[in-house]
């Protein structure tokens, strides 16, 4: 494997670039995806290479341009459309969940909608309650959308190419704090070696990032790095298995269940709100498999809007330290 390292944003752009070169039906739409190159660098350089017809800046009209993606996809195009922050889903959710997500079903399979909806999620830089949320739990709850949440550059490229080639709507979440932007701190481990050539990573295959026998930590996105840090910090005392789900829909329940069967303990770490979300879904997935859990714990955003002030924000998001503490408590 090549040793060329890319940031996650460059890996995403490379994936889109290679697919646009391969397939003229692929095009990009969204706010500031053109000259600006995407506020979080998800489309940098594409306008210069493919021109205004295939890289389209839109007005601030998410309902219109996401619905436009649905309509264009029904006619054979393969739009990649960006919702700048997932926090904004409320202005366009109807087009996403009642139409893009359901038209294939309501038409008995007659309509195919190959749309990739890219969106930025996550906090940690004091962007407050309307620009820091995870929210993937909402999209995983409603049927008809595949939900992808890469944690590093290698996965980001492979999952993006898989998403573009998928004939179904895919919500592609990228954490702002993983993109490797010059102006926002990102874990060094988010930038990885990335092969030049196109490759895909199948949806629904979690990755065991670190194997262990005392406790299973399951998470996704940015929290994968924090969980690994926590596991490493405890390795003298505890053998912790860390699982990166990579996609929430489809959800790789077998990998999680098998791990808990081995460790007997599950700690779910989530940047999304705690209740009615990922943490609960994994508890149910293990319990309904009749796998005894000696311990189940969850560390997630404590069901409060995300506060602006640094000490408050740091309090609501899991950190390597709080994860380590939760892990120790879960095994004690």
């Amino acid at each position: 494997m090549t040793e060329r390292k890319l940031t996650m944003s460059r890996a995403i752009v490379e994936a889109i670039d290679q697919e646009m070169a391969r397939d003229p039906k692929v095009f990009v739409m969204g706010e500031d995806v053109g000259p600006y190159g995407g506020i979080f660098g998800s489309t940098t350089g594409l306008l210069q290479k493919y021109g205004e017809d295939r890289v389209r800046d839109t007005p601030i009209s998410e309902t219109a341009f996401i619905g436009t993606a649905t309509g264009a996809a029904a006619e054979g195009m393969r739009p990649i459309v960006e919702l700048m922050f997932v926090d904004f889903f409320g202005v366009c959710m109807d087009q996403i969940y009642n139409h893009l997500a359901k038209n294939t079903y309501m038409s008995g399979g007659g309509v195919r909608l190959p749309v990739v909806l890219t969106t930025a999620y996550g906090g940690g830089y004091s962007d407050a309650a309307q620009h820091s949320q995870a929210l993937y739990g909402v999209f995983a709850h409603v049927p008809g959308l595949k939900v992808v949440v890469p944690s590093n550059a290698y996965d980001a490229k492979g999952l993006m190419i898989e998403a573009i080639r998928d004939d179904n709507p895919v919500m592609y979440f990228f954490h702002k704090g993983l993109m490797g932007l010059g102006w926002m701190t990102s874990p060094a481990t988010a930038a990885t070696p990335v092969p030049e050539e196109p490759y895909t990573i199948p949806f629904g295959k979690a990755e065991v990032k670190r194997s262990g026998t005392d406790l299973t930590i399951v998470t996704v996105g940015l929290m994968v790095h924090r969980a690994l840090e926590a596991a490493a910090s405890l390795e003298k005392k505890l053998s912790i298995e860390v699982i990166d789900l990579r996609t929430l829909v489809p959800l790789d329940r077998p990998t999680v269940v098998a791990s808990v069967k081995k460790t007997g303990r599950l700690l779910v770490v989530d940047e999304d709100y705690r209740s009615f979300g990922l943490t609960g879904e994994l508890a149910a997935s293990v319990a309904e498999a009749d796998v005894p859990m000696r311990r189940y714990r969850r560390l997630a955003e404590p069901d409060v809007p995300i506060p602006y002030s640094r000490p408050l924000e740091q309090f609501v998001f899991p950190s390597a330290e709080t994860i380590a503490a939760a892990a120790r408590a879960a095994v004690a």
Partner: protein
């Protein structure tokens, strides 16, 4: 653009087909709901929004559309679907919830999808505008002269999607026609209580596109305005907005008590019925004779017999089929 004899007769016959189709649906819908009406009972359960009175809108616009052109419709879709050429058997089977339906029984009457003629509709008010813009964008990017038409009621013109979609279509100069069917009611809310302007055509100025109001429920007047808009779109000159004052003869949905509706309103409207109106014109033009009219009506009944027979005799889907088709 002149409408030739065949097209004029097509308009007339299609209106008859729509009217009679829905008259039969009313009966079918009430099966199993008598003496007591229960929305969930009978061979056709669920909501039923009929378009009796609005036929001129459908044929007036569709007279200019081809198979390759896209149409998105609202919750009240039958007249539009039929005029666009949606397979009547499969559509009826869908409404009956049968396996042979357009969506294998998954969609129902508010969710008719016929990719063969590029028709779709939605139960969400105003939701059809953006996908029509998308179809127009796809046509433009693929270098086709195909157009798209989005139909919705006057109530839908107060939904944000109307504004966003028109603006986007206008700045991108996309080949799409926005057609507002003003039947003056949004369920029980009259347009005067929902809309700040007397005509949605006035709203075209907010997007720098042509806006036309057709004050009469007249298929020929509608066809004339639609012809201009469609040609403009095909020439790549961008979107247009057309509002038509049309008639809602029935309740919002079947079972609507309509206590909010002034007595006698419908009777007055029916005196200006759009089908009879075109019939008189065609008769005067000697294009329609009594015998031809009889033939057309007989043909319509035969076509409807086939469609309803197909639907009734088709099997229901297997219950577990509910799990199929979430993803393509």
């Amino acid at each position: 653009m002149q409408l030739d004899r065949d097209k004029l007769l097509w308009m007339y016959r299609t209106m008859l087909l729509i009217r009679r189709y829905e008259e039969r649906l009313v009966d079918a819908y009430l099966e199993g709901k008598m003496p007591r009406f229960d929305i969930g009972w009978g061979p056709i359960p669920g909501e039923m929004h009929l378009a009796a009175g609005q036929e001129p809108v459908a044929v007036g616009v569709m007279a200019h559309l081809r198979k390759e052109d896209t149409v998105t419709g609202p919750h009240r879709p039958h007249h539009l679907a039929i005029a666009k050429g949606v397979d009547l058997k499969k559509m009826t089977a869908e409404i009956y919830g049968k396996k042979t339906g357009l969506g294998h029984g998954k969609g129902g009457h508010m969710h008719l999808f016929d990719p063969a003629v590029k028709f779709s509709c939605s139960g969400l008010i105003g939701a059809g505008f953006p996908p029509a813009v998308g179809a127009a964008l796809a046509a433009k990017m693929q270098g086709k002269d195909w157009v798209a038409a989005a139909f919705a009621g006057e109530g839908a013109a107060n939904q944000g999607s109307f504004h966003e979609a028109l603006n986007l279509a206008a700045i991108w100069r996309l080949p799409v026609i926005f057609v507002i069917e003003d039947n003056s009611w949004a369920i029980s809310v009259p347009r005067s209580k929902s809309t700040a302007v007397s005509s949605n055509a006035d709203r075209a100025a907010a997007y720098g596109v042509p806006g036309v109001l057709i004050p009469e429920n007249d298929a020929l007047a509608i066809a004339e305005a639609a012809g201009v808009a469609v040609e403009r779109a095909r020439r790549g000159e961008g979107p247009s907005l057309i509002e038509i004052r049309t008639f809602r003869y029935l309740g919002h949905f079947q079972g609507d008590p309509e206590t909010y509706r002034p007595k006698g309103e419908v009777e007055e409207l029916k005196k200006r019925d759009g089908i009879a109106r075109l019939g008189r014109v065609l008769t005067a033009q000697k294009l329609l004779t009594e015998s031809l009219d009889g033939e057309l009506r007989a043909g319509v009944e035969r076509e409807l017999d086939d469609a309803f027979e197909f639907a009734r005799s088709s099997p229901y889907p297997e219950p577990a089929d509910a799990l199929l088709h979430v993803f393509a």
